[in-house]
């Protein structure tokens, strides 16, 4: 029996060198891995106030102690770095196969630093790293890039080894660029693909034969505890529902509750929601299901549009968020066109949530321009740019969006501004109120005016407008694990959101999938974690405190990086929904009720961690960052 050794590779792209970095057991226990370890390293290593495209910015690509172990849904990895989109700490998480294969290659994580003079791809195999010229890959889409790299490494089977890459969006430093892996998987949020583009890192191939079981503290215990965990998760009706229905299950439900953001968040009900729902997809373009590495839930949809103007080869997706962002949000009811957009955005390497929101911002700006409601100079500029681009970005125009994907990826004409994300686009044309974002990050598919705990979840999410820091939709909409009235001013929601934020932080640090955490909790993972790490005396309380530590550490990074405000976009804060069960309610009504209590519970002074909580969580070393 031995304690877990967590080994990273520090890769300097300026001089094309690398060295091994070992994370000691004490530090790992304090930050776990993945998002937690990335946050710690960012606080230690990324200088305060730098431009995200400064060579001192770093990208941490990290797994966690559970990644690739087969414990259950452990096929993910986490990315951390300073976000070019928000200017704060950015992070994103992705499934597929890359996380496990990174560990099998001999490394638990990568620290990417410096900048290369020319495009590079990395070949990481069995503890060694080779730097390769990627000039011939530069400008190519994700699908083509992966195909070429597989030819170079002579492994064509997509189940052996894995590739992470950026598309043209990342190369051209679009602030809504994703880091892609396994063709269809995206560490999408906060624009970190642009940082890899800035560093001229096009792709990473990972492959190896490392046996994680042999490195565990107690592999026999691990096998027995992992089996218990698997039985519990697969016995849960939620897991079974996911297998059957995938993430698109919620389209009709969110719409029924009046919380499906429609036409750039001006409505909460889309009368054609059924046409973009999972039910409709299942009887039209769905081919089969697919899962991440080692996962039996298989929530991913495999689709094909066999003919017609939106003909698309067999591919993965679209997920609920992407379908909403290009469907109800843009008034598009043709799911075949959304499958095409999703496919192309994956290929170009965009965050589909941010892209859809940025397009809805453009559509509203264009509508305002045509109505003469923009400043005259700005109106002229926008109309000229649109004419020059040869598109008509009016609501529901599918073909204009398909053109925009390419225009934005290569920063051409109006695409150059779309590539900057919704906030900058709206600010450029003098209408910041048209962009729906929190802290610069575009919002996902739940209107907090109709699902009121999400007002707090969005406003206090460290990385910005995000549903994955706290998915309180589960309480408000589904009624599980506890039933909440989505329109009730109930103070217990504050504690629920805070605890979920802390627990989800651990989930992202272990690194496991959030799909299994509603049927399980911290105690279910404790024994598995002990078997891997040897942290025999770890308690559930320690695990939750660790989550709180990481959440506060993220905020310590953010509050020193400029104006950082826990709020909602002006439209959601001040305007009420015009129809549905939430008619008449504003975000301000909810947030004013929840936020003061939340700060009290977190021991934050107007959003800033107090010295008391910093010391309590053993974060003193960052007091004066």
């Amino acid at each position: 029996m031995r304690f877990l050794e967590f080994k990273l590779a520090r890769i300097n792209l300026s001089d094309h060198n690398w060295k091994e970095v070992k994370i000691d057991d004490k530090l790992l226990r304090k930050f776990i891995g993945g998002r937690g370890l990335g946050t710690y390293l960012a606080l230690k290593e990324i200088p305060k106030g730098i431009d995200p495209f400064d060579k001192e910015n770093k990208i941490y690509i990290l797994t966690g102690p559970l990644t690739g172990t087969g414990a259950f849904e452990t096929g993910r990895y986490h990315v951390v770095g300073k976000s070019p989109l928000t200017g704060f700490l950015g992070d994103a998480n992705s499934g597929g196969d890359f996380g496990p294969w990174l560990r099998f290659s001999g490394f638990d994580g990568l620290i990417i630093e410096g900048k290369s003079d020319y495009p590079i791809w990395l070949r990481i195999e069995d503890g060694d790293i080779k730097f390769n010229d990627a000039s011939s890959l530069w400008g190519k889409g994700v699908h083509h890039t992966e195909k070429i790299i597989r030819e170079k490494v002579k492994i064509s089977s997509e189940t052996i080894g894995s590739i992470l890459s950026i598309g043209p969006a990342g190369e051209n430093k679009s602030k809504i660029a994703a880091i892609m892996n396994d063709r269809y998987r995206a560490a999408g949020r906060t624009g970190l693909g642009a940082v890899l583009g800035d560093k001229k890192l096009k792709a990473i191939w990972v492959y190896g034969k490392r046996n994680l079981l042999k490195e565990m503290y107690d592999s026999k215990k691990f096998i027995s505890e992992a089996k218990k965990l698997t039985d519990k998760i697969m016995g849960n009706p939620v897991s079974q529902a996911l297998t059957q229905l995938g993430t698109l299950v919620l389209m009709n439900m969110t719409n029924a509750l009046g919380g499906l953001p429609t036409k750039n968040w001006t409505h909460g009900i889309y009368d054609k929601a059924f046409d973009i729902s999972g039910e409709h997809l299942a009887e039209s373009y769905l081919k089969t299901r697919k899962g991440c590495w080692g996962c039996t839930i298989q929530c991913s949809r495999v689709t094909e549009v066999p003919e017609g103007p939106y003909k698309t080869p067999i591919s993965e997706g679209p997920e609920y968020e992407s379908t909403w962002a290009h469907g109800a949000n843009l008034l598009i009811d043709d799911i075949s066109s959304i499958i095409k957009m999703n496919y192309l955005e994956n290929d170009m390497g965009f965050d589909t949530i941010s892209f859809g929101n940025t397009v809805s911002t453009l559509m509203e700006l264009y509508e305002l321009a045509k109505q003469g409601k923009l400043d005259k100079d700005k109106e002229k500029e926008l109309i000229e740019l649109i004419n020059m681009s040869g598109i008509e970005p009016s609501w529901g125009n599918k073909d204009a969006i398909i053109q925009l994907i390419y225009l934005a990826a290569y920063r051409n004409k109006i695409g150059d501004l779309v590539a900057e994300g919704a906030k900058r686009l709206a600010e450029h044309f003098g209408r910041p109120d048209v962009a729906i974002h929190v802290k610069g990050l575009e919002l996902p598919a739940y209107d907090p005016r109709a699902l009121n705990s999400m007002s707090l979840s969005y406003a206090t999410a460290n990385r910005g407008g995000c549903h994955l820091r706290s998915y309180s939709v589960a309480f408000d909409m589904i009624g599980s694990p506890e039933k909440w009235d989505p329109l009730a001013k109930d103070i217990k929601k504050v504690k629920g959101v805070k605890e979920q934020q802390d627990w989800f932080t651990i989930v992202d640090s272990l690194v496991i999938c959030k799909f299994n955490v509603f049927g399980t909790g911290p105690s279910d993972y404790l024994e598995v974690l002990k078997a891997i790490t040897g942290w025999e005396d770890m308690t559930e309380n320690e695990l939750m405190t660790t989550g709180e530590r990481i959440y506060n550490a993220e905020r310590l990074f953010d509050v020193k990086e400029g104006e950082y405000k826990d709020t909602l976009p002006k439209r959601l804060l001040e305007e009420s929904l015009p129809e549905g069960p939430a008619k008449g309610h504003t975000g301000k009504e909810w947030l004013d009720f929840f936020l003061p209590e939340y700060y009290k519970l977190r021991k934050w002074d107007n959003g800033i961690p107090t010295e008391e909580i910093i010391r309590k969580l053993d974060l003193e070393e960052f007091l004066n960052r």
Binding site: A241, L242, T247, A256, E279, E319, V473, F518, P581
Partner: protein, 98 residues
């Protein structure tokens, strides 16, 4: 014969498959309650619907019924009176869209 009111009934997820339709427009007697509607569907549209949905007189986990976007529990549950233009949705538990 009493007055009739028009309502819209939607079936989503498992219930879409089970009933074979997404939406029904029904004329129901005034004073119909939710339980009356369930009985009506069981009798006229799909035998076994009530048993699939209810456990004696309560909604069986993990089913959910929404009346105009609000869970039936927030009204008078199965005894909620239905009104003109109401929209009723029958759904199994639908968890995830993370």
């Amino acid at each position: 014969m009493g007055e009739k009111v028009k309502i819209k009934v939607r079936f989503i997820l498992d219930y879409y498959k089970y009933i074979g339709k997404f939406e029904l427009n029904l004329d129901i007697p005034d004073k119909f309650t939710l339980i009356d509607l369930i009985d009506y569907i069981d009798k006229n549209i799909k035998k076994g619907f009530k048993e699939k949905l209810l456990n004696e007189n309560s909604i069986k986990y993990p089913n959910m019924i929404l009346i105009n976007g609000r869970r039936a529990e927030f009204f008078e549950n199965l005894n909620t009176k239905l009104n003109e233009n109401d929209q009723i949705i029958f759904s199994p538990l639908a968890y995830f869209a993370l």
